[in-house]
C-alpha cells in the first residue's frame, strides 16, 4: 500500500483552502513523516498494549470502527456458511450415492457454473432480476429505513446477499463432498456394513458421511479467509454495512490503521476457526486425540 501513488492526505492536495504547511502539519500529526519501519514499529508497540490506533479519516478508534461492522459481517458470513452447508451436504451425498444419474449430472453442471461465476457478476445479475425487474427483494441494505426492526424485513434484505454468497461456497462444498463420499463408499468397511444387511440410509449417513466429512471440515476451516473475501464483494454490491466494505473504502483512502486492524482481526478469526476445526475432528473421529 505504501508503494502506491497518493496517500492518506492526497485528498487535501487539491483544495485551495488547505496550504502546504497544513498538509505538513497533518503529516506530522499522523506520524506519516517518519520512516516506514518506525511507523510499523510504533503501530506494533501500540498494538501489543491493546491500542489499535485511530482511523486517519474518521479519527475514531480502529477497534470501534471494526466493532461497528464486525457483527454484520459475521451475521452474513455465518448464515451463508450454514446455508451453504445445508445445501451442499444433501446435494453432495445424493449426487455421490446416485453417481451418473440425471440429478448428479445436473448438480455437477450447476456446481461447476456456481464455482466459476464470480460474485460481482452473479450478484449484479440477481439484483437486476429480483430487485429491478421483479421488485421482489431490496437491492441493498440490512433493513428498510424508517421502519422498526422486524425479523421478516431483515430476512427479506438478507436473502439476496445470502444467496449469492452461499451458492458460491455451496457449489464448492457439494463438489468436494461428492468426491470424498465416492471415495468412502467404495471402501471395504462400507461394503462390510452393507453385507451385514444394514439399511442403506444408516450406512450412508452414519458410516460413510461421518468419514467423508472430515476433509470437508478442513476445507471449511481453511476457506474462512475466502469467505471473508467473498463477503468483501457481496457487501460492496449489496450495500451491506460490514467489514468488507469498510476494508474497501479504507483501502481506497489509504486509511492504514483501519486496513491493518481488519487484517489483524481476520487473522485472529482464522486462528480461532482452525482451532474449532481441530476440535470438531476429535468429535467426528475418535481416533484423533489431542494430548
Amino acid at each position: 500500500m505504501q508503494a502506491l501513488p497518493g496517500g492518506p492526505l492526497a485528498a487535501y492536495e487539491n483544495n485551495p483552502e488547505i496550504k502546504a504547511e497544513d498538509i505538513e502539519r497533518l503529516r506530522h500529526e499522523l506520524g506519516l513523516d517518519r520512516p516506514l519501519h518506525i511507523q510499523y514499529l510504533r503501530w506494533l508497540g501500540n498494538f501489543l498494549q491493546g491500542d489499535w490506533g485511530y482511523s486517519y479519516a474518521t479519527k475514531r478508534p480502529v477497534l470501534r470502527e471494526i466493532w461497528d461492522r464486525l457483527p454484520n459481517t459475521i451475521y452474513l458470513t455465518g448464515l451463508s456458511l450454514i446455508a451453504s452447508l445445508l445445501i451442499a451436504i444433501p446435494v453432495g451425498i445424493i449426487s455421490a450415492t446416485r453417481q451418473y444419474s440425471v440429478f448428479d449430472h445436473v448438480v455437477t453442471t450447476l456446481t461447476y457454473v456456481g464455482r466459476s461465476m464470480p460474485i460481482y457478476y452473479s450478484g449484479l445479475l440477481l439484483i437486476i432480476v429480483f430487485s429491478i425487474w421483479l421488485r421482489w427483494f431490496p437491492s441493498g441494505g440490512m433493513n428498510t429505513l424508517g421502519q422498526d426492526f422486524s425479523l421478516l424485513d431483515s430476512l427479506h434484505h438478507l436473502f439476496l446477499p445470502l444467496l449469492s454468497l452461499s451458492t458460491l461456497i455451496a457449489a464448492k462444498y457439494a463438489r468436494f463432498l461428492r468426491t470424498s463420499m465416492l471415495e468412502v463408499i467404495h471402501q471395504d468397511y462400507v461394503r462390510t456394513a452393507a453385507a451385514k444387511g444394514l439399511h442403506e440410509q444408516i450406512i450412508i449417513y452414519k458410516h460413510a458421511f461421518r468419514n467423508a466429512s472430515i476433509p470437508l471440515v478442513t476445507i471449511v476451516a481453511i476457506d474462512l479467509p475466502v469467505l471473508f473475501a467473498g463477503a468483501l464483494f457481496t457487501e460492496t454490491i449489496y450495500s451491506w454495512p460490514g467489514m468488507g466494505r469498510l476494508f474497501v473504502n479504507s483501502s481506497l483512502r489509504f486509511d492504514y490503521p483501519i486496513v491493518m486492524g481488519i487484517v489483524t482481526a481476520i487473522a485472529f478469526l482464522v486462528v480461532i476457526c482452525n482451532l474449532l476445526a481441530d476440535m470438531i475432528y476429535a468429535m467426528l473421529d475418535p481416533r484423533i486425540t489431542y494430548s
Binding site: G6, I18, D22, P61, P90, S139, L145, G146, S239, P241
Partner: protein, 561 residues
Amino acid sequence: MPLSRRNTRMKTRAFALLLFAMMVAGFASIGTAEDTLTIAIYQEPENLNTYIGVQTVITYVHRPFAEYLIDVNEKGEYYPVLVKEVPTVENGGVSEDGLTITYHLKEGVKWSDGEPFTSADVKFTWEAVMNEKNMVKSRSGYDLIESIETPDEHTAIVKYKEYYAPYLTRFAPVLPEHVLGDLPDINDAPYNRMPVGTGPFMVTEWVSGDHITMEKNPYYRNADQVKIDKIFFKITPSREVGIAQLKAGDVDVVWDLIETQIPEMEKDPDIDLYLANSLTSERLILNHSTPEPPHNGDPDYPHPILADLKVRKAIQYAIDKQLIVEKLLYGKAEVGTSEIPAGWAHNPDLEPSEYDLEKAKQLLEEAGWKVGEDGIREKDGVRMRLKITTTTGNKLREQVEQVLLSMLKKAGIELYIENVPSSVLFGSWANDADRKKGRYDIMMYTTGPGIDPQQQYEGYFHSKNIPTEENGGSGYNYTRHRDAELDNYLEIAGSAPSMEKRAEAYRKAQERVAEILPHIYLYRRLSINGIRSHVKGWIPNGYGIIDSVATWNIGDWYLEK
C-alpha cells in the same frame, strides 16, 4: 431411496414457503404519517465536522443541521443567517482598515439541545481551530485573528492582525462551546458523528456503513415552517445503485450525479433534475516552462511550444467549445470564459472565445510553425506534438480529449493522450507529482474558486505561487507564468477592505488572464442531483461557502401529496 426423495421435496416446499413469506413481508411496508425524505449518497462521510474532514459529502450532509454566520444564496449574494446583517464598511460592521469585524448575532437562537447560541460559541470556534491538539484541515484566516471580544452575548468583535480578504467566509459553521469546550481535543469528539447544530434538523442516529437519520430540530427558530419530519441519508455503494433506487422510488434524492447520466434521468417523468452551474470549470492548463528534466518547471526555461502566446491563442481559437457542450454535455452546461464564472467578482463583459480555425492557422504561421509533410506543424526541427493529461476512469474527460485531439489536428497541432489516476495527477511535491514539478504539456481538470475567489485566484495566478524547492512546492501556479500586471491586480484584490474595489480588481485580473491565456476554460461544471418530482421547494444554487450543495435550503423543502 424413496425416503430421501420425500425429504428433498419437503425441503423444497419449506423453502418456497419461506420465500413467499419474505416477499409478503416486502410488499407489506406500511406508509407512515410522517413526511420522510430519503437521500442516497454514494460516499459515507468520514465525520460531520467540516473543520476536520475534506469530503464534499460532509458539506452535503451537514447543511441540514449546521449554520454559518453568513451564507450565499442562489444569486451569489451574501445573506445573514446567524447574524442580523452582513457586516460591511458602510454599515459600520467592518472598520475602515478592514481589520475589525463586528458581528451582531441574532437573539433567541438555540442549539438543538436547547442551550442558547451566543458570542462565546463564535469565540470558541476560533479557539478550536487554532488549538494545537485539533487536527483541523486548515487554519486559513483564523491564524490571522488577533483576538475576539465578546462584550455581550450577542456581539462578537473579531480583530485581525492583518487584513484577510475572505473574512465573510469564516465561522462556517459555528461550533457549540457547551458541547466541545471541555474536551481536550475535538478529533474524536462525539460531536463529529452526533453533532449539535442550530439548523432545521438534527442528527439522531448514524448506523455505520448504512444510513444517517435526522429529525426536525424542535429548538429551531422557525421550526413551525419546516415541513419534512425526517431525513435519511442512505449510503449506497455507487451512484448507479442510487439511480436504480431513485427509479424504483426507494429513495427521493440522489446526490452528485455526473453529466453523462443526464439523458437517462430526463427520460423518467417521475424524476426532476437539480442542475446548478457551479463555480468550478473544466479547463486546460498550459505549461509555460519546459517539461524536460533537469530544468522542468523552472520558469527561466520556457516551454518549446506553449511559451509563445500566439500558440496558446491559436489553441483556444481551434477549440469549438460550444460543440463540446452541445454534443458531450447535452447542452446543459455553459461554455467557460473565466476563473470566476459568476458571482460578485465575475466580469460580465468577458465573452466566450470564438471558434475560428482560420485565425488559429494564421497565428501559428505568424509564430513560425509551418505545416510539415503529414499535416503536423514544425519549427526549427521541433514537431508540434503535445501531451494532454487528465485523470483516468472519467468517461466524459476521455471523450473531451478525443474531440480536442481531432479539433487541434485540423490546425496542425498533434495531441497525444497520457492519463494518470487522480492520486498521481494531484500528488504532492514530496511525492514528486508531475503537476507540482511541471513535467507536463497540457493538463485538463476541474477546479474553481469559492464564493470568495482570493485563495484560488492568488494561488493559481500570482507569480509568487510557482511551486519550487524553496517554498516546499506550495502554490498552484502550475503553468509557471509570471505577469506583473496580473500580480498587481491580485495584490489589490487581496488587500482592499472595500468589496467594490476588490471586485474591480478581480474583473481586471480576469481580463488579463483572458489575454495571456495560462488556462483555457472549456465549460462550467454542473452540480447535479436527481430528485423525485413530488419533492418541492429546492432551488439550484451553484454557490457555497464551503461547497455548493443541493441541501443548502433543505429547511424549505416539502413533499407534494
